[in-house]
């Protein structure tokens, strides 16, 4: 596997910044020459993942978004600090949407020791283009 190039973004955990993240996601997928369906699915998946975390974020939190870009796959890790132990529900429509759009989705909650915020909630998803399978 080729070494991924990494793009990291930090934005205030507020809905108005989602557009920045999803456009970066689309640009990265375009740059890797994903097919249009995959570009769009990826873009929407990043938007959904970030939106899930926004709801869990403590006030004034910073959302951190890391893209690991490979030739035929982009992996995204999004995380946000939460003051209370967050629950990322997996029996919801939003979750169903996310897992339909991405090839894999995992979540993680860790205790952030020494932080003012008690916890760190994260979602990680990967997307491979449909075009990769036909090449």
């Amino acid at each position: 596997m080729d070494r991924p190039s990494t793009v990291e973004m930090r934005v205030e955990a507020a809905p108005e910044y989602l557009i920045v993240l999803r456009n970066v996601a689309a640009d990265l997928a375009m740059g890797r020459d994903f097919d249009l369906d995959s570009i769009s699915d990826f873009r929407i998946a990043v938007d959904e993942a970030c939106a899930i975390l926004l709801r869990l974020a403590e006030p004034k939190a910073v959302l951190r978004c890391l893209f690991h870009v490979r030739t035929d796959e982009i992996r995204v890790h999004v995380e946000v600090p939460c003051s209370e132990r967050p629950v990322i529900a997996q029996d919801t429509f939003t979750w169903h949407v996310l897992t339909t759009l991405a090839d894999s989705v995992t979540t993680n909650v860790t205790e952030a020791a020494g932080h003012s915020a008690g916890f760190l909630a994260s979602i990680e998803l990967t997307k491979k283009p449909v075009s990769a399978a036909t090449e």
């Binding site: 456009n23 375009m30 769009s40 429509f93 283009p129």
Partner: protein, 260 residues
Amino acid sequence: MSVTEDHTGSAPTFEELAPRFAELAGLAEDDPRRAQLRAELVTAYLPLARTLARRFANRGEALDDLVQVATVGLIGAIDRFDPDRGVDFVGFAVPTITGEIRRHFRDSAWSLRVPRRTKETYAAIQAAIAELTPTLQRSPTPGELASHLDLPVEQVREGLRAAYAYRSGSLDKLLHEDATQTLGSTMGEEDPELEQVDLRQTVQPLLRTLPERERTVVVLRFFHGMSQSQIASRVGVSQMQISRILSRTLARLRDQITDG
């Protein structure tokens, strides 16, 4: 409508106006009375144009501009109306005028926000997507579009970025009203496959709040496992439009879930 209620003033009622269309139709193209009669009819039906324009207010366009556009539509309707067809003028004018307003939103949504070259590239991309998708049996990549169109790939990306970013809010709102007509038969009220999905109890009420077309697109993508391109060809719109519909509809559903 204020005109029909005004029996005391000088404004004629819509019934009183009906014979005047026959009169207009009977006049030769170059008859000087034509312009006069036409002007009278425009004035008489102006309240109708205003009412329709007002329906599209608060969508980012000044009401004055909308009234003007509606008036253009009204004039077109007066010119094209055939009294022998047995339809009354209002029945004919309403779709003509709203059609004109929709076109205005569609055109201005582009011209205000997207540079000309990008707009042209986007149009070329749309055509190329339609050509390449059946052959590839999947949506094309920007690189494939670029070589098909003989354009630099960066220009294709620019066109795609515009397509994602382009604010189609006002346009798509207008399209909602058409969606029920075009998609009514595509998807019944209760979708049998959706019935079998575990999520149905939470999702069904949510999906019912959506306009028909949005609901169809969401159901096909998330419960029938169809790709955006497949949905595009089934529903008869472009893949880019499906992409925008999904993006916007999911955001809307998200807001409802949060609010609830």
